[in-house]
């Protein structure tokens, strides 16, 4: 630690130097205003001790000048002076001083104050270092999130969207998790959908998305069965991901007849909004993908049917846990109401837009904490 002592009298320069050096502080002294300015600029001391009256200028002006020079650096300025009236003391503090010690010199008092200010400087420096480290990590994480977003967006582009039979919405939160939604029509007209939610945030979450996407599009080409696809993805994620990561998901196969096969693990209930206005629910009955070894994995699927005009709506838990300005969650009942009322619209794309607006109205000005994924599939065939 470095201390600059500014005093016209040699005896004070010597005694301050003596006391400070006992505390292992490096000391340089100045006897004039100009000298003080030039040492301060060139040497960058951590502490300054000065008198009110100095050759070549006033101590008050010097404090103002030095404080301005220190910028964002915290440099305590301590007046040591025989001008100890309240009025002078007041002026000293107003000009930016951090402390005021009256002369005659009291060694005990000076040492106590010096140590206090040294501790202060150390704390501020420590804080500065930590702040710098945090800023570094924050920047790094922001970049990772950007990258993960880009990867997921790229994947998402391979999916079909905004048709009269499919609508997918992803509303990304600032700190996003790993929602993934893929829908594709096979050459035989059968449609395959994957709606998943990875544990974790940022880059780790998107890493799991890559192999899942590969398996999904392989399944489109190979026409493999739904239970086989579930087994494949589970096996892959089980071997790739660390044991604290998994993927909650629905896998859906929709035939041109509207017949529906689905496998669900770890996801909230999905909805079928019947053309009549009735609301049915699909339940996810399994553990998420990537948790169980193949021998224990349950691949059994369930069945349902979409008649003409019926809409299957899958929402991620980000929708159910969406919070409004009063910190209340949207919850299951309100979600059901919104799905019932929005998806009656003739155009699926429009219905989806209305649903998005309803969710954003509910949220109001509160911050969206989690990614939101909404997938709607409708049977538009006349079987």
């Amino acid at each position: 630690m470095k201390l600059l002592c500014v005093d016209s009298e040699l005896v004070y320069r010597e005694i301050v130097t003596l006391c400070a050096e006992k505390e292992n502080v490096e000391v340089r002294t100045a006897s004039t205003f100009q000298e003080a300015m030039s040492i301060f600029t060139g040497w960058l001391p951590d502490l300054v001790v000065l008198d009110v009256v100095i050759q070549g200028g006033s101590g008050l002006d010097l404090v103002r000048a030095l404080k301005a020079l220190s910028g964002s650096r915290f440099v305590p300025m301590i007046f040591l002076t025989s001008h100890s009236s309240d009025a002078t003391m007041n002026k000293c503090f107003k000009s930016g001083a951090d402390d005021f010690i009256p002369k005659p010199f009291n060694e005990v008092l000076f040492n106590v104050r010096l140590k206090t200010h040294m501790r202060h400087v150390e704390l501020v420096q420590e804080m500065y270092r930590k702040n710098k480290a945090l800023t570094y990590y924050q920047t790094m994480i922001e970049r990772e999130h950007e990258m993960a977003h880009q990867v997921l967006d790229h994947i998402q582009n391979r999916s079909e969207n905004n048709r009269n039979w499919v609508a997918i919405t992803r509303m990304s939160a600032a700190s996003f998790n790993g929602d993934l939604a893929l829908v594709k029509t096979r050459s035989d007209g059968v449609r395959l959908a994957f709606v998943g939610d990875f544990t974790g945030h940022g880059l780790p979450a998107s890493i799991g998305a890559l192999p899942v996407t590969q398996a999904f599009f392989d399944a489109i080409d190979e026409h493999i069965s739904l239970d086989e696809l579930a087994i494949r993805i589970n096996r892959m994620l089980f071997s790739i991901l660390p044991d604290y990561m998994f993927c909650a998901a629905y896998l859906i196969l929709m035939y041109p007849t509207g017949e529906l096969h689905y496998w669900g693990g770890g996801m909230p209930n999905a909805f079928i909004r019947r053309n009549s206005g009735k609301l049915d629910q699909l339940q996810s009955t399994h553990m998420p993908l990537g948790v169980l070894p193949t021998a224990e994995f349950e691949s059994d699927t369930r069945e349902d049917k979409l008649n003409k005009g019926d809409t299957l709506v899958i929402v991620s838990d980000g929708v159910l846990e969406l919070k409004n300005g009063q910190n209340e969650m949207l919850g299951a009942a309100h979600s059901e109401f919104l799905v019932s009322s929005c998806y009656g619209a003739k155009s699926l794309v429009q219905a989806q837009q209305v649903m998005e607006m309803e969710l954003s109205d509910f949220r109001g000005s509160s911050v969206q904490l989690d990614d939101i994924t909404l997938v709607a599939l409708r049977n538009t065939n006349s079987h």
Partner: protein, 100 residues
């Protein structure tokens, strides 16, 4: 500290109590809470009666604990409120944990 560990010597049971938000911020602390007892204890209790919120990262941390302590050990998840119990059931944690 939002995690506390109690050792019940008589039953050789380790009880881990979590307070507040059970999320990714507890990743290291939660692992540290049980890792010293691996192989020494056959029963664990995770007291969740003071947990207000639980995210998917916490589910992952519980699964990681499940793997670490070994299949022969019982892990009881105790005192979760309805909201949290629902999250545990959606992910079928009843298959691997004793949910009370």
């Amino acid at each position: 500290m939002s995690i506390s560990v109690t050792v019940h010597d008589s039953q050789k049971t380790i009880e881990i109590a979590i307070i507040g938000s059970f999320d990714f911020s507890l990743f290291n602390d939660f692992r540290a809470a049980y890792s010293d007892y691996i192989g020494l204890s056959h029963a664990y209790i995770v007291d969740m009666s003071l947990v207000e919120y639980l995210d998917s990262a916490a589910l992952g941390m519980l699964l990681s604990m499940r793997n670490a302590v070994g299949a022969e050990c019982v892990i009881e998840l105790k005192g979760a409120n309805e909201f949290i119990k629902n999250i545990l059931m959606i992910s079928r944690f009843d298959k691997r944990f004793d949910i009370q």
